[in-house]
Point group: C2
Chain length 559, copies 2
């Protein structure tokens, strides 16, 4: 990319590809076209002249923990990295809850894909389909239109069907599918329309605006039922305000618990000073269907979390089942966006001003599409001979619907009695795989360890494993398939431990080695995030924001 920058400002390549020259160039033009198609107009002359030893083109679908971490680790001197994702940035999700209340600014948890060191080609769009036999991905553009935060909600589905972007094709040598998962709403009515998710920075922004707007709405004079024109007269009764200032979180996993904790901090460290009269009306409730929240923690630590929440006045209701979310009746719902939620265990509905949904994942529709389709693959001998090739399918994990991979994270494909297994799948594991298609992150299921949780940790470790092995394997820049079985060790997940923030400068931390709780765990929590996969910019800005929020309070402006 460094050389391409200087190249592209010249008209050299331009002139080569101009219609006038095309006719004269003949075969050379066809070759040129094939190369320019690989990275549009921005391929350097250097690369063109060294076509035989050109770098392999690795296309990465997704810019989450799996896709971004992989792209970040893959050596740009050995591979051309092409990232395709509907959003142009990676979100450092463990700090997303902090941004939803303004402890951190949104941009402090974002890393733009285009800023990856070493140069990267990025197309903002949704992968629509993959032609595994031609090694081409069909992409629908997503840079057009209005505010991306409105378009790119992580509600299901994220792709607004009304707005169809341009369609274009991108070819690959190796493909890494890391498209993640969507929020699962279990078909509960109203969740998709009225609840807030907390998976992307757009979600965090909407939650922040909503929380601050609710306090602003409730700061107007209370309805007194009197008719004096001299009295400031609002439309909301105190009961209405109590409804609007009820913050409901559904799901007692780390995301839900951390959001509740951060919200509590916002309210008690900042809003208390600005809206003192509203404090008696505020409530935070966490509902979960399980008998215990934070299932990944020991009983003792989970109990410590519950005790901390109890002291902070955050209600935790386990074994409670949400059945419906709807707009509340009357002015509360129509003018103030108040919600009514039906809990199975309660006879009456509960009112709330905000419902945050933080439980459940479902497969991305793109993954559902991929596992459903038949294809021939280029490595098949029949296919290469030009005969009718054997048809395959990706292997779908029956439980989760994800794409099954072998121990080296390659996509498994169905075999057939009449076809030979693909050449590189010989040896110890005769199960057929695609040697040039890898699947990592939430959409992947490792056939050797199907119980791996869908967490950032697993995704990041898979990404690191794959990128490092590819970096090592391709010393010569050859285009051939990687000889996995002889040099790669199977992927193995190592649990680095789990951290959850509980509010009031307290946290819990659990790993195989130790357990921490209270402010010690809080220090570990903050320290851990500073050493994680962040750019230097954000390593600098996160502490600055922490300091500024601590000294001056969180910013409450809405725009």
């Amino acid at each position: 990319m460094a050389s391409s920058a200087s190249m592209c400002r010249t008209t050299y390549l331009h002139a080569l590809a101009s219609p006038a020259r095309r006719a004269n160039l003949g075969k050379a033009y066809i070759r040129l076209l094939r190369i320019t198609s690989r990275c549009s107009r921005c391929y350097s002359v250097q690369t063109i002249s060294k076509q035989d030893t050109r770098k392999q083109r690795v296309v990465i679908l997704g810019s989450g923990w799996a896709g971004y971490s992989f792209a970040r680790t893959l050596d740009p001197s050995k591979f051309d990295r092409i990232v395709i994702s509907p959003r142009g940035y990676f979100v450092f999700t463990p700090l997303l809850a902090s941004t939803s209340v303004g402890t951190l600014e949104f941009r402090a948890v974002l890393e733009p894909v285009r800023r990856l060191p070493g140069g990267v080609r990025f197309y903002q769009g949704w992968a629509d389909d993959v032609d595994f036999s031609q090694k081409v991905i069909r992409v629908e553009a997503n840079a057009v239109g209005g505010l991306p935060s409105e378009v790119l909600s992580s509600t299901v589905p994220v792709k607004p069907e009304a707005k169809k972007g341009d369609i274009f094709n991108v070819g690959y040598d190796k493909l890494v599918i890391a498209v993640g998962a969507y929020s699962q709403t279990f078909g509960i009515p109203g969740v998709r329309d009225h609840a807030h998710f907390l998976r992307d920075v757009g979600d965090a922004r909407r939650i922040r605006l909503r929380v601050l707007s609710l306090f602003e709405q409730c700061s107007y004079p209370t309805s007194q039922g009197s008719s004096s024109t001299h009295v400031a007269e609002g439309s909301l009764s105190e009961a209405d305000k109590r409804s609007l200032l009820h913050f409901v979180i559904v799901g007692g996993g780390p995301t839900g618990i951390e959001f509740a904790a951060e919200l509590h901090d916002l309210i008690h460290e900042d809003l208390k000073r600005l809206y003192p009269e509203l404090m008696p009306l505020v409530r935070i409730t966490v509902y979960d269907i399980a008998p215990k929240v934070l299932p990944m923690f020991d009983q003792a630590l989970a109990q410590y979390a519950m005790d901390t929440f109890a002291r902070q006045g955050i209600q935790v209701r386990t074994k409670h089942h949400l059945e419906r979310v709807r707009i509340a009746d009357g002015v509360l719902g129509s003018a103030h966006g108040g919600l009514s939620i039906k809990i199975k265990e309660y006879s009456e509905e509960v009112n709330a001003g905000l419902v945050v949904w933080s439980t459940g994942l479902m497969q991305n529709p793109f993954v559902e599409h991929l596992v459903g389709k038949e294809f021939a693959i280029a490595q098949d001998k029949d296919f290469q001979k030009g005969e009718d090739a054997q048809r395959h399918r990706l292997v779908k994990d029956p439980k989760t619907g994800g794409i099954l991979t072998d121990a080296y994270l390659r996509a498994r494909i169905t075999d057939s009695a009449t076809s030979q297994p693909p050449p590189d799948a010989a040896g110890d594991t005769p199960k057929p795989v695609m040697s040039d298609v890898f699947v990592i992150g939430d959409c992947a299921v490792n056939e050797n360890d199907r119980s791996l949780p869908k967490t950032a940790q697993v995704a990041a470790q898979q990404a690191g494993y794959l990128a490092k092995h590819l970096n090592k394997a391709t010393q010569d820049g050859s285009l051939g398939a990687v000889d996995v079985s002889s040099t790669w060790k199977p992927f193995k997940f190592r649990n680095w431990g789990t951290l959850t923030y509980l509010g009031g400068w307290k946290a819990i931390h659990q790993s195989s080695a130790d357990e921490l709780r209270g402010w010690v765990a809080w220090v570990v929590w903050r320290g851990a995030y500073l050493t994680r996969s962040m750019s230097l910019r954000n390593k600098m800005m996160v502490p600055v924001y922490w300091f500024v929020s601590w000294v001056f309070g969180r910013d409450i402006s809405r725009f």
Copy 2:
């Protein structure tokens, strides 16, 4: 407010105002109601018991340079400050252009009204009407609904007529009208719908998203007119991209010039590295109807600005008249939001991806309403005797439509043959005024100096003048009218000089004492902003952002 915080968490006042007690309290209840109405439920018991010596209630309409600066300077130990504004923050407008390209983050130029030191009561809403005889303001709430940046555009009108908020009344002892002005589009078709303004932080956010989105849209493969499925095939031709990457600014005042300069910096310092292939297609053009841009600067400095722009490749077209803005034809307009603008001097339309409108102000509809209505005032003797009082009107400045004030910034009212002038207007200036209604900022016209420009400097000086004089006048906290004529000096504007940034670390500065240009002026430009009316938080954050943008580049994530 400090004491009210502790009070409101008790149920004392609550209990007093509960329906059960109301019946028993009789007259005491009426009095209580009158007081609680003054600041809803949050008035401290202390204040209630000292009712006779309670602080004067100063209601400030607006949170711009005039309103916010006034509220900031007014002594909270002597006055109860109540701010009513459709937005909850003050915008440090001179740095707004910097936020629209990401040199600074949005929040670095915002000061939340509720964070004013000393406590302030704030109602987010539009002043709808003022009853000058009863001294009551009717307010329409504006905290309800979706994203305020979508609602609170500074396009004209800012108030979305579809969404009617709650209406409530707020009483005042003194009123400061500082509602500012709206953007004037001179009725040019399409400006209101398709151009971007740059007056609020929501405008800056939309411009930032649009600029980055345009580069993203143009980064897709170019349409080749070929049908090969292997070639990445986009829908935009190179000419289309050239159209979308044409950035048009209408208005060559400091705002327009600074936006062009900041945009140039963004493109040449950051986007050049990320989208090198698009650089030959980018153009920035400033159109102005006047023969010369930056009319407040000397010819030499304005020429220096033009020379700087010419070197940077920014086109400046003076004596050019915009006649229409419309959505461009074809896919360029329908799918990519491209615009076509008609310039009177050109035979053909010019395409653009973004049009920023930065010229002209018009009166706020609220001001138009106020100057049109008749009212009686409480100070009139007839009125106090209960008889039919003399009717007055605010005096409208015929040229600008603003509210005329006397030299002490009090609202001038029309006199009548049969009425006595209000008591405090006697003496040297027999022209009638309202002694308790002040008008400052863009909506005010000083009858002693009608040529004062509508700038932040004038607004801030008027605000400071008024607040300091009121602080001095009210030593005893009495409710009586201020004896202006004996102790106040007439307001006089002092020109502190003008600064404009030109891009590439160059600026121009002009004051009565000196003229500066180049990087020296740039240093003055940056230094000046750090010493201006900002909170400590932003005095800290602005240099941090400058540093981070300089080292790491501006952030390009859109959300």
